[in-house]
């Protein structure tokens, strides 16, 4: 399965073209700034920063965060298939994926609470539960960054 992935057209392009790898890696960094940056700002707002910003009005920003997530889903898959077995064996990579699943779950749960069916124009006051979720989310997404960066160090030199 992993060998098959490494021999697909996309994988070969990323491995062989001189520019494909840095371009995909740059897209992954830009997508990271969009999704993690915006998710952190939403969480900081939940915890009380910039309290004049209505929580429900952050829905547009959340949509941009989803765009960043799509960019990184695509670029991340391309990076993975180019070196599937090395990534699969990497412990920081495995931890990153687990944290990512938790982070995305929290992001979706929080978005349901903040921008859910109520379509309230009012500035909702976050409940204690929402604040706890936001705090966990900040820790988890920071963990995604740390684990992601350590993939290059703990197992093999990626660059």
């Amino acid at each position: 399965m992993l060998d098959w992935l490494e021999n697909t057209g996309v994988a070969r392009m990323v491995q062989e073209s001189m520019w494909a790898y840095p371009i995909v890696l740059s897209s992954h960094a830009v997508g990271m700034a969009i999704v993690v940056g915006i998710v952190l700002m939403i969480n900081f707002r939940i915890l009380g920063l910039a309290s004049g910003v209505p929580l429900s009005a952050l829905k547009t920003m959340y949509r941009f965060a989803l765009l960043g997530l799509v960019i990184n889903g695509v670029s991340g898959t391309m990076l993975f298939v180019a070196n599937a077995d090395a990534f699969f064996e990497s412990n920081p990579f495995r931890i990153k994926i687990i944290l990512l699943i938790i982070g995305i779950t929290l992001m979706v749960m929080l978005s349901r609470r903040l921008f859910g069916s109520t379509d309230s124009v009012q500035n909702v006051v976050p409940t204690k539960q929402v604040k706890i979720m936001a705090s966990i989310s900040i820790v988890v997404w920071t963990g995604v960054i740390v684990a992601g960066r350590l993939i290059a160090y703990l197992d093999w030199k990626i660059f």
């Binding site: 960094a29 830009v30 993690v36 940056g37 952190l40 700002m41 910039a50 829905k59």
Partner: protein, 159 residues
């Protein structure tokens, strides 16, 4: 310049960074977290000043700026430490030079933003929409900071 680079390379800071296997990965991880705080907060502010999420009052969204300054401080500090670790690698690097130029332009653009928005108007009228000039400045900010990420990621590939 050569003299400054030689002095940097022989500094105690350089020896400390190169002498500790964990220093570089730790600094890199911090540089990524700083990037997310700096550029993530600016994405939210710039998108709002470009005209998105019009339910967010302009004078409320700028309250994310302290996050921007924290991110900038982290990245200036860690960035200087990278430069000390390997001055003869970074200084001549084309991507590094372009990145520094982009940071400089983004800084000048931020000064222009400060001059173009009237903070007094912002605080007296929440419903006011950003003028066309301000929208362009915000778009330029978004573009310049995104190019900073891309150019930074390109440093290892343009040597």
């Amino acid at each position: 310049m050569e003299g400054i680079l030689t002095w940097m390379e022989s500094s105690a800071l350089t020896r400390m960074i190169l002498g500790n296997a964990w220093a570089f990965p730790t600094l890199e991880t911090l540089h990524f977290i700083g990037l997310i705080l700096l550029i993530g907060s600016l994405y939210v502010i710039d998108l709002r000043f470009m005209g998105f999420a019009s339910r967010i009052p302009l004078n409320a969204v700028i309250r994310f700026l302290p996050v921007t300054f924290i991110g900038f401080t982290i990245n200036l500090t860690t960035g200087i430490m990278f430069l000390f670790a390997d001055p003869f690698r970074y200084y001549p690097n084309f991507a590094f030079r372009l990145k520094m130029l982009a940071v400089l332009l983004a800084g000048l653009n931020a000064v222009w933003f400060k001059l173009a928005i009237n903070l007094a108007t912002l605080s007296s009228d929440n419903s006011i929409e950003p003028r066309i000039t301000v929208r362009w400045i915000a778009g330029l900010s978004l573009l310049l900071w995104t190019s900073v990420i891309v150019l930074g990621r390109m440093i290892p590939y343009l040597e």
